[in-house]
């Protein structure tokens, strides 16, 4: 497929180009929703559509007013802050709990592995509306609804499966003899973990943590049920924005979020390469 063979007949040539065209259309379908709102977020008019002036690339048709709007709006700033507080706390909890659990799960002696794995991955599988409803009742009854603690605990539970999956995957390529070597040289289990295991599995741990952070940063259903006005996160605030009065400020926020995801994607790619290099899968 990589190149058209020289012996290809006209029909094959046609197929080759038709197939590439089809793929191009699908890639366009994937990427255009993410690209199209970026220029619109610089619209000088409060519309969701391209004005004729914008299409003519006149400079007065573009402005930064919607970005200014975010900075002037206490609610957006507050929800930005909340998203980071909840996201970072949940990521920290999920990463530590998930990494320790993955260490146990990847041991060959682990009893009932499939069952326990099923329970640990359940937050990823159960539909969010059911999770949100269950947590809403339970956290209301123990006074954790509409608190930061409640939201952090909920987001932690939702983030742990991603940590468990990525760290378990990294550990599957981990050479267990290194642990034995460390023990035989007199290292305590704690020391072995921090000095030998953790540095080697760190790409997996960090990418699991990034997944957990994104899960929390992007989560809206549970936030709808559990967060009070005080705990509003960015997605919760966007939700309100889309439902109530839809203004281009939303597009400015969306553009910022796209930038954040580009950075996360770059971070993941770097981690993936580092992990492959550590495992000797690709030349450094």
């Amino acid at each position: 497929m990589s190149a058209i063979p020289s012996y290809a007949g006209p029909l094959e040539r046609f197929w080759y180009y038709a197939f590439r065209f089809l793929c191009g259309v699908i890639f366009l379908f994937l990427i255009s929703p993410i690209i199209v709102m970026i220029p619109l977020s610089f619209n000088a008019e409060p519309y969701f559509t391209f004005t004729p002036e914008m299409l003519a690339l006149k400079s007065e048709a573009f402005s930064l007013r919607w970005y200014q709007d975010i900075l002037d709006n206490d609610q957006w700033l507050h929800s930005m802050k909340n998203s980071f507080i909840v996201g970072i706390a949940a990521t920290f909890l999920a990463t530590s709990l998930g990494t320790i659990a993955a260490l146990g799960l990847s041991r060959s002696e682990m009893p009932y592995r499939t069952l326990i794995m099923g329970v640990l991955l359940s937050p990823m599988i159960v539909p969010l509306i059911i999770t949100a409803a269950g947590l809403f009742f339970f956290y209301s009854s123990i006074n954790l609804a509409q608190t930061y603690t409640g939201l952090i605990l909920a987001h932690t539970a939702l983030g742990t499966p991603f940590v468990v999956i990525t760290v378990t995957a990294t550990l599957s390529g981990f050479d267990r003899n290194l642990i034995r070597a460390a023990s035989s040289l007199g290292s305590s289990p704690q020391r072995t973990f921090f000095k030998v295991i953790l540095p080697l599995i760190s790409p997996g741990v960090i990418s699991g943590g990034l997944f957990a952070f994104v899960t929390s940063f992007d989560e809206v259903v549970v936030a709808l049920f559990l967060a009070g006005f005080e705990q509003r996160t960015v997605p919760r605030q966007m939700w309100a924005g889309i439902r109530e009065q839809i203004s281009p400020t939303i597009l400015a926020v969306a553009t910022i979020l796209v930038l954040i995801s580009v950075m996360l994607l770059a971070a993941m790619e770097i981690l993936r390469r580092r992990s492959e290099r550590l495992r000797g899968l690709s030349p450094s």
Partner: protein, 420 residues
Amino acid sequence: MAAVTENDGVMRAADGTPLKQALARATRMNKIRAFLLTTPLLAFILVTFILPIGLMLFRSVSAPEVVEAFPKTIAILKEWDGEDLPGEETYAMLATEMSDRDNRFNLGKAGTRLNYIESGFRSLMNLTVRRIKRAEEPPYKDAFIKIDERWGQVDTWKTIQLAGDPYTIRAYLNALDLTQAPSGEIVAQPEIKQIYVTLFLRTIWVSLGVTAACILLAYPISYLLATLPAGTANLLMIFVLLPFWTSLLVRTTSWIVLLQTNGVINDILVWIGIVGDEDRIQMIYNMTGTFIAMTHILLPFMVLPLYSVMKTIPKDHMRAARSLGANPAIAFARIYMPQTVPGVGAGSILVFILAIGYYITPALVGGQDGQLISNIIEYHMKKSLNWSLAAALGGILLAGVLALYWLYNRIVGINNMKLG
């Protein structure tokens, strides 16, 4: 230390225990150690996640309100044969329990519960509670019937008797468009109330449709990515990974921008001249919007497993097939496609599981007829406050998802689940 002197042919460890036993102990210790590592997270998930969901599902079968409000009346009704109207003592007991000032809070909840069984019951309860206090002396039976003639009907009492059971499958019956007649017989709901089965079926159809659309779109690009040189493939992979990492709300917002009547796509269609300026296509706030946005959001979940399977298929297979005389189409259909089935299966179950529980996208771009089962669960949770029905609908949805999860585990193995 005692020397190992016994000479019975058993291998022994340094401390004298038979080697087999020592090994068994060491294995057990290792098992416990491995398990102990998972306990913090296991305990956390059980307490903060599984328990709350279990308690919520318990609401779907639990109905303690009526027996809490009228414990003694229910006790008397247990003896009642259900043939003729209950005796004066039943009416008297109900009047006492209705007039009890400490019982006020329970009365309201009991009224709501009875109303789920028979609409109109809440107002009947409120009316009766207000009036019965004035009828201080017996006979209460006549007083009740005077307040509302429904108190003179056997079915009213049968309803109370039925609601006196603290556990009920009524919510599940309702979630399946069935109901229990006062006689105890299970019958279909009146046609105008039959909405949930339709909604479940619609959710399943939409999820199947989205899954099919994802297969159709993911197959060609996964094939392209798997067969291109690594450098180009990595570059093109950005088109898949960037949407994957981009916020769900951002993508949904963007589809609103693209699809709305004055949106980009309609503008382009008008500009090309395919549609007139007056008859722009309504592509959002209906099923079309839900379908397109969901397909876009779930497509990466199909591409990633498919790509990882296709990457492992050796290129020689196709070449061998060609050299043996197969034309490209036959070689592809007979040699290549069967090898991609595991990827299609894994991706399909994943996409279907995610689609069937979708809430955000249908709520934002679905309008009236683009709503799915999750949206009605939210409605009963937050607006109609019929929590037992919400729990029952959730229970059915959860059972379906768990069955699919089990299937996924059988086919792919959750231990092999990979991300990105």
